[in-house]
Symmetry: C2
Subunit: 340 residues, 2 copies
């Protein structure tokens, strides 16, 4: 079986997602996903003295939890692919530092969990690693003060803005083990249709999601109904209908199977989060908390996990730049899904 | 042949570095490497209206030059692995945006070129890509104002500080083609011995370089004399002797074959650059300008390219954090080196 089919990748050994874990913050733990996370941490500081250290602690604890669930030790993991939203990805560097695990730092904004899983899949399927961890995090307070305003400023949020989640997800991809299985995926292309409003990232990312999903469905000659869910990461309540419209114009109707992690995370009416959740940890924690368990118990057989990212900095919109969107995709199957 | 030997990777198909290019800025073009770069650009703005756009232009032009040298078009490249030092890696995102090439963003600070080449090697050797480009850049003016002081402030530089190079290197790794060849490599571990002086990054990165080089030599059962050069990226004039000392304590003497891109870039006496060059573009441009041509014409047979990175942000030292160092390594051989 070829490992590359047009612009999509095929993992012929279908690596196992051997273990996975999710930790979420207080607000995320009060939303519709509250019963699915492994842990909900009420203290946003995670016992640390600043928000950046708190995010590193969150990411580190999520990884440790994934290890514990599989009775693994750090030295059982031969590579770690990790990323976050903090400048120079220090959230991940400081989290990985103590583990002494070979480390590949990646940056894909909120698409980072899909990028990390794609790379972990290649490392394991290609024979370069026995077990690679894919870990990402985000923290409301690190993102708010870095990308927007100091927390104490109490700035007003626009209706289209999304709420960066305090959350983390960790998945250990292994050459041995059972379902869920990583089947392959599609590396995202940058799509930029000129959206310049950095408080409307769902709109900026929807074209990238449409492009990647359409390419993967085309390359694998599958249709939306072949999947129990086509999960986007963080398009939110504004970007999700845009994605469905964009694909409908190409005669692809994902409306019956589409779910978006940004929309799943919060109750828009009750939690005042406007267009939904976002951040590397949003889709990562919902994948590891909600979707992977459903694939483990065969409730779902096949899903596409298409995490989206907005590749802007705090400075780039001020320099008049539009917002480049990207979307990386991985296909994940249950035991029954593998044999169907 | 196994693809993983202890903690090192082996590319059994030895992908070709099919084409490569380097572009450097004015100051870099006045140093000892001036005759080796493909182009030297006198205008630091690269015709753009701000430094960040200038860096994107620099990276984009270097990639285009690598394409031209091989008579390739963007659609001949099926993946791009790229990174830089700007917050959220926007230097690369905006450079890649127009190409419509599937894009994996990475962050490894000044080690990014070795990380990109490792990933490009895995993508091609693993059969997931026919041609993957590895591209990195740095720009003195984007780095200075982001990590240190506004340029117009005219801050005094400490004796141990390094000069972020305005430079970029691009290499196209291909499943078909001749020398130089990517033979394998080693993914870096974070080493942090507690250096907190962000103006002495050579010292912060030397332990990581020692760790990675020692692991690779051990895993491949080779000694320093087996290589024409063991090239580190950007340890500079302070970090290089530290690396040699650290390895000597482990009975590994690399002193006769060690070369450092940070030290090679500038003439310390004439150019007032203190401890040497740094930045993702420093080691990338010297690899693509100086070392790869020597491997292409068999002047060198085997080299190790071990680029080092300091995984700090502008904020992390202010929060009392020490500086995590990392070093990724790739082995590259000439046609004769492949058969010896």
């Amino acid at each position: 079986m070829p490992k590359r089919v047009y612009s999509s990748l095929c993992f012929e050994t279908h690596p196992s997602i051997y273990s996975f874990a999710s930790i979420a913050g207080q607000k995320e733990g009060e939303g519709p996903m509250r019963n699915y996370f492994d842990q909900i941490q009420q203290d946003a500081s995670f016992g640390e003295k600043n928000w950046e250290k708190a995010e590193s602690r969150l990411q580190s604890e999520t990884f440790q939890l994934a290890l514990q669930k599989a009775r693994l030790k750090p030295f059982d993991i031969d590579c770690m692919v990790a990323g976050d939203l903090i400048n120079q990805c220090t959230g991940s560097s400081f989290a990985v530092r103590e583990t002494k695990i070979p480390f590949l730092g990646v940056y894909g904004a909120c698409s980072t969990m899909a990028e990390s899983l794609l790379l972990a899949g290649m490392l394991v399927d290609g024979g370069y690693s026995f077990r690679t961890a894919a870990v990402t995090s985000s923290h409301f307070s690190t993102a708010e003060r870095q990308f927007r305003f100091p927390l104490s400023y109490g700035g007003q949020r626009t209706p289209t803005s999304q709420w960066t989640c305090t959350a983390s997800g960790a998945a250990i991809v292994s050459s041995e083990g059972g379902a869920p299985y990583l089947m392959g995926g599609c590396i995202g292309k940058i799509n930029d249709l000129g959206v310049t409003d950095s408080t409307n990232m769902g709109a900026a990312m929807a074209p990238a999601a449409a492009d990647t999903i359409q390419r993967y469905l085309g390359d694998t000659k599958t249709c939306p109904e072949d999947y129990d869910a086509i999960v986007t990461g963080d398009l939110g309540n504004i970007g999700s209908p845009l994605l469905i419209d964009l694909l409908l114009k190409q005669n692809v109707d994902i409306s019956r199977v589409h779910q978006d992690c940004g929309s799943l995370m919060f109750d828009e009416q009750q939690q005042d989060t406007h267009a939904g959740g976002s951040g590397c940890g949003c889709s990562a924690s919902i994948l590891c908390g909600y979707f992977l368990p459903k694939l483990q118990n065969n409730e779902f057989k096949k899903i596409l996990f298409a995490a989206t990212g907005a590749l802007l900095s705090a400075m780039s919109p001020q320099q008049g730049e539009s917002i480049p969107g990207i979307c990386h995709l991985v296909e994940i199957r249950s035991e029954e899904g593998l044999h169907s």
